[in-house]
């Protein structure tokens, strides 16, 4: 591996509203290496990337490109340098063909005329495709392709722009295994061709397989820089999690089988083709059950089906012994289910509406009405109650939720469920992108609910969170429950191993 | 890239201008297309017998939904209903000249035997009408003329009607005071003439002043709004002249709103049933009545005559003009108009 350094980020500092997210972070990528970037959610990975691609501006520090210092203030800048980023939310244009997407904005022309030379463009694309042997065809309309191929199109776009550094943020998150395989092959071939890749992923086995070096961030600080030889799964896990495997701070937990209280929720052979398969589990009253796994393991899909937001193909759900068919969300809510969605901004709340309106949204059946008119006092009281319970700041009931901080937005989303008699509360990544303070409050809240006999289903990619909050932990992988931790000692490492299928890699 | 586009367009433009002929064009009406049509040898249509052969007559209205056009249509139908060899087809111009142009070329295509048309715009339809005549289809215009010689124009009195109304109003308000006009859609020749006639005559009464005029597009509702604003603008209005009855009715409504009916006289024109009713009720002062059924019938008769005769418009030097006699209608005389003559 040549030692020529292509990109170097030195002493990067960044903080949002006095909350430091990056402190003195270093990143160094050599030519022709795949450099993995790891860390738990909120470790500052994506912030770092956003700085490298010019989406954010760094507070301090310097970025060196092939030795000389550069300022990256926009995507254009970073493209001109030869850095291209493959986004999680794809930035290809569905109605255009692969070729058109790749050469968008720099189409080859016929001689002096302004006319696009489609033949040549397709040929050039074909050449690229052959060069990196992607399973693409220049004339395909991107809209008809699966996510995987769309992503490849985007990668190809990056390559065609003579990028020397590709940044891939969780590229396999939404890929099927086959697609992922293809991607790995491609990354390896790129490596041989001397391209550098910054590879961000939770999936240990991928990192294990692909990366030459590995930078681990934790709480916005560099934790370690491992070379290929040093990359050793358990070590990685420990570094990421931060603690040696000791008894402290919920990096480890002794789960004890709850003494037989009655089963509240029972799920049998629930299947939704292509998303999850034959999922069965039971939860007891007052139990917090954690669902771990990597992104795309089918956790969100599962809970959405249980809540009734999506339809499942086969299987059955029993609520307190009675068969429960989540035919409509309204019905589920009546039955005492609550749901805090993963995509808070997109599905959690209505940005333009006030805290009051948002908290009341699901609860108008509880608010007394006088001749159809909502008694605004009760509505207000409900909101104030929520604000008190959740300690929402600022405590202004009329403030549009869109203007609150992430943490307080989530508090509003949660708060509305506290206003009613819950049997089951499903929370999906409840603390993603939320400051520590708010996290704790939310954890306590979940516990409090559980103590009042509510079943809490917690879907989370944050291992610490899982361990700390849940009484029992299910781990999903590729749409199946592959492990259940119900008693005895369990460490974050155990969960991560199970989730990432590390054992398979090892064996 | 934008520039290059512009180049494309310019090429196009040049292309068209070539078609147009880049020569300095003389603008005198001497060698204009419409007229040159006339001078060309026209197709001789071998005369049909309108009372036995299959005959199709097209009625192209400016806006089919007005009382007047409906009355005309009925008039035409009644005139022809005794002959079952004649079919009448109405077309709606939706108050747009373009539509009428399209319709007429359509009608020519289907070789109808005669066209009765109320031209939304004389200039706009000149060519179409000429084309029709050239193809041996006699064209009879109703009220709204076309700027080219054709078989006949059957119209209500316009200029003279304007004069009559002016004199009436002058008499009623004692030859002194202020008058407002509610206009129709600008650019419609007949109503323009009507207004012209009115203005010219009022000019003879130095004491009478036309203090304002606003367009209400022949619509009752609009007229109400316009009248409202007049009423608030001017403390003193003695006479209102609305170019058609619909607008007169609207104006009257507005005046009733503020109970100033006794202050002023309100005149319309056309004489549709509703207006006559209002005159009887005293909410409208007067109008010029023309029997639109007769007018329609007249048009139909001329059409049949032209179909039957072997000569055509090319022998005409100017369009023969059939003017229906205007009848002044006021509260006293309204009774004379028989119920069955009310359209």
């Amino acid at each position: 591996m040549s030692s020529e350094v292509i990109l170097e980020a030195k002493n990067i500092y960044k903080s949002f509203s006095q909350v430091p997210v990056l402190q003195d972070v270093h990143l160094e990528v050599a030519k022709g290496e795949v450099h993995a970037l790891m860390g738990e959610n909120g470790a500052g990975k994506s912030t770092l990337i956003k700085i490298l691609t010019g989406a954010y501006t760094k507070d301090q520090g310097s970025i060196l490109w092939k030795g000389q210092e550069v300022e990256i203030n926009s995507l254009k800048d970073c493209r001109q340098l030869g850095v291209s980023c493959i986004y999680q939310e794809l930035s290809v244009i569905p109605v255009l063909t692969v070729a058109q997407n790749i050469y968008l904005g720099r189409e080859p022309k016929i001689g002096k005329t302004g006319l696009i030379d489609h033949k040549r463009m397709n040929r050039m694309t074909q050449a690229l495709i052959d060069q990196y042997n992607f399973p693409l065809h220049p004339k395909d309309t991107v809209g008809d392709l699966g996510i995987g191929l769309r992503q490849l199109t985007e990668i190809l776009k990056g390559l065609s722009a003579r990028s020397e550094l590709l940044i891939m943020d969780e590229p396999t998150a939404s890929l099927s295994g086959k697609e992922a395989e293809i991607l790995f092959g491609i990354i390896e071939s790129l490596k041989e061709k001397g391209f550098s890749v910054i590879y961000i992923s939770h999936r240990l086995e991928e990192v294990y397989r692909l990366s030459d070096r590995l930078t681990i961030l934790r709480d916005g600080k560099n934790k370690a820089l491992l070379s290929r030889q040093e990359i050793e799964p358990l070590k990685m896990i420990q570094l990421m999690i931060g603690k040696e495997v000791d008894e402290s701070e919920g990096s480890v937990k002794i789960l004890t089988e709850k003494k037989e209280s009655k089963t509240a929720l029972k799920v049998e052979h629930l299947t939704c083709k292509g998303k999850f398969e034959d999922v069965s589990f039971t939860v007891q009253e007052g139990e917090i059950i954690g669902v771990g796994g990597l992104i795309g393991a089918g956790r969100t899909e599962l809970v959405r089906c249980i809540y009734g937001a999506d339809k499942y193909d086969s299987g059955a759900i029993y609520l307190h012994g009675k068969k429960f068919v989540p035919s409509s969300i309204r019905k589920s809510i009546k039955q005492g289910l609550g749901f805090v969605p993963e995509d808070r901004r997109g599905q959690g709340f209505i940005p333009l509406l006030s805290v009051k309106r948002n908290t009341a949204l699901t609860n108008y059946d509880l608010i007394a009405k006088r001749a159809l008119a909502i008694t605004s006092k009760e509505e207000l009281d409900m909101c104030l109650k929520a604000i008190r319970k959740m300690d929402i700041r600022p405590d202004d009931p009329d403030k549009p939720v869109g203007l609150l901080s992430g943490g307080n937005q989530q508090k509003v989303v949660l708060g509305k469920w506290l206003m009613r008699e819950l049997k089951v509360l499903i929370v999906d990544e409840p603390t993603a992108g939320i400051d520590v303070g708010a996290k704790d409050e939310i954890y306590n809240l979940l516990r409090m609910l559980a103590d009042n006999g509510v079943v809490v289903i917690l879907v989370s990619s944050d291992l610490q969170e899982l361990l700390r909050v849940s009484d029992r932990i299910l781990v999903m992988r590729k749409g199946k429950i592959i492990k259940e931790f119900s008693e005895g000692t369990v460490t974050q490492a155990d969960i991560l191993e199970a989730a990432s299928g590390l054992k398979e890699v090892r064996s | 890239m934008k520039k290059r586009l512009l180049v494309f367009f310019m090429v196009l433009v040049i292309g068209m201008s070539l078609l147009a002929g880049c020569s300095e064009a003389s603008r005198d009406e001497g060698e204009t297309a419409a007229e040159s049509n006339e001078s060309t040898e026209s197709v001789e249509s071998e005369a049909k017998d309108p009372y036995s052969d299959e005959v199709k007559i097209a009625f192209v209205a400016h806006d089919l939904s007005t009382a007047v056009t409906q009355a005309w249509l009925e008039g035409i139908r009644n005139e022809c209903k005794s002959f079952d060899n004649i079919t009448i087809q109405e077309f709606n111009g939706d108050s747009s000249a373009e539509n009428q142009v399209q319709i007429i070329s359509e009608v020519i295509n289907q070789d109808y035997d005669a066209i009765i048309v109320q031209c939304s715009d004389g200039g706009a339809l000149a060519d179409s009408v000429a084309q029709a005549e050239k193809n041996g289809i006699p064209v009879i215009t109703l009220n709204l003329d076309a700027d080219t010689t054709h078989s006949a124009l059957v119209q209500m009195a316009d200029y003279d009607a304007g004069r009559l109304i002016a004199d009436e109003i002058a008499a009623e308000i004692g030859e002194t005071g202020s008058v407002v006009i509610i206009q129709g859609i600008a650019g419609v020749s007949r109503t323009d003439n009507l207004e012209q006639g009115f203005r010219d005559t009022i000019a003879n009464y130095p004491e009478i002043e036309i203090i304002a005029s606003q367009a209400a597009d022949f619509e009752k509702e609009k007229a109400t709004t316009v009248m409202n604003s007049f009423l608030t603008q001017f403390s003193q209005i003695d006479g209102v002249f609305a170019i058609n009855d619909a607008m007169a009715e609207g104006a009257s409504l507005a005046v009733q709103q503020v109970n100033r009916l006794d202050e002023m006289v309100i005149w319309g024109a056309d004489g549709e049933a509703a207006a006559l009713e209002m005159i009887e009720a005293g909410t409208l002062t007067g109008t010029i009545y023309t029997n639109c059924w007769d007018q329609g019938a007249a048009a139909a008769q001329v059409a049949l005559l032209m179909i039957g005769s072997e000569y055509n418009y090319s022998v005409l030097s100017k369009t023969p003009n059939i003017i229906l006699e205007p009848v002044i209608v006021t509260k006293d005389t309204v009774g004379q108009i028989d119920q069955k003559d009310r359209w």
Partner: protein, 330 residues
């Protein structure tokens, strides 16, 4: 087969059904003269449609085309009336006027961030009013302005029954389609309409793209006006009244999606012909004019409903493909 192609074939099929249906029921319909008449009627709407296609591709809309016609017409009329400039200069100025009007629309939409609908709704009123203001008046009364010079009127002429306007229409369709498929600008239109954020990420100047689209509409309207007025040998203040809706209808029937990114000029050509044939046929059938409105409306609803259904089907298809993949490997 590509979705857009399928969609086009369908609208073309509808057109054929119409044609066959009418030609069976009316012996005039297939007469060459009538075919040309249909094309002629389609041309004006179609020429404007070419431009509007661009705007709708960017997920915009333009309601001001009708009034724009009147304005352009009246500008030319003034030149005709008060100057002795050669006709082709008059045409150029008319076209310039049209493009300026388009530019104004574009400005409001892309610089003042007004919603397209409301923006062009206001300019619709503005242009009409301007027309009245600059209209030529004889003793205070607006009159229609004849433009009878042979040089100008010749534009409404024909060679062997094929009117010039048809030829221009075809030329513009060809060029319009070429711009869509063979220029960067064309590609950008699709990009902007289909995913404006991605377009921006790819460094496309979305503002300028949308602006240009509006200018092109202006240009097309101007061209259409030239031929419309040449045919009528005059212009009126009411010119193009309600035209905007016919054009939108034609474009939509031609398969453009109002949410942008789908459709092209060929589709619009078909759409325009479809509408013209419909009118023409309805005249033949001597159906009461009122039913025309009903039929047209029904057809539009039918087509848009079909569109959304068809698109959903397409998405489901690709989704199920992915699911199969996923299932296979499990």
């Amino acid at each position: 087969m590509k979705q857009s192609t399928v969609r086009k074939l369908i609208s073309f099929g509808l057109l054929m059904v119409l044609v066959i249906g009418f030609s069976i029921s009316s012996n005039y319909f297939l007469s060459s003269s009538n075919i040309f008449a249909i094309f002629r009627d389609a041309s004006i709407v179609g020429i404007i449609g070419v431009g509007l296609t661009y705007v709708i591709l960017t997920a915009g809309i333009d309601l001001s085309t009708g009034s724009m016609m009147a304005l352009v017409g009246m500008v030319m009329a003034n030149i005709y009336q008060y100057t002795l400039l050669p006709i082709w200069v008059m045409l150029l100025i008319g076209i310039a006027a049209g493009m300026t009007a388009g530019l104004f629309n574009g400005f409001i939409v892309t610089r003042l961030y007004l919603p397209e609908f409301i923006a062009t709704l206001s300019t619709m009123g503005i242009y009409r009013a301007l027309t009245y203001i600059i209209a030529i008046k004889k003793n205070g009364l607006i009159t229609s302005q004849p433009m009878k010079t042979a040089a100008f009127v010749r534009l409404s002429g024909e060679i062997k029954g094929i009117y010039y306007v048809i030829i221009i229409f075809i030329i513009m369709v060809v060029i319009g389609q070429a711009i869509l498929k063979y220029t960067r600008f064309g590609t950008n239109l699709y990009a902007v309409g289909s995913n404006i954020k991605a377009a921006r990420l790819s460094g496309i100047n979305t503002g300028r793209t949308r602006m240009t689209a509006y200018v092109i509409v202006g240009f097309c309207v101007a061209v259409a006006t030239v031929f419309q007025t040449a045919r009528m040998q005059c212009t009126t203040v009411l010119l193009g009244d309600g035209m905007e809706f016919n054009v939108i209808a034609a474009v939509v029937v031609g398969g453009c999606a109002l949410d942008g990114g789908r459709g092209d000029v060929i589709g619009t050509l078909i759409g325009a012909l479809f509408m013209a044939a419909l009118n023409n046929g309805i005249y033949k059938f001597q159906i009461n004019a009122s039913y025309q409105l009903i039929i047209k409306g029904a057809i539009i609803i039918g087509i848009v409903v079909f569109d959304s259904w068809y698109n959903k089907k397409m998405e489901q298809a690709s989704a199920s493909r992915r699911i199969k993949e996923a299932v296979n490997e499990q």
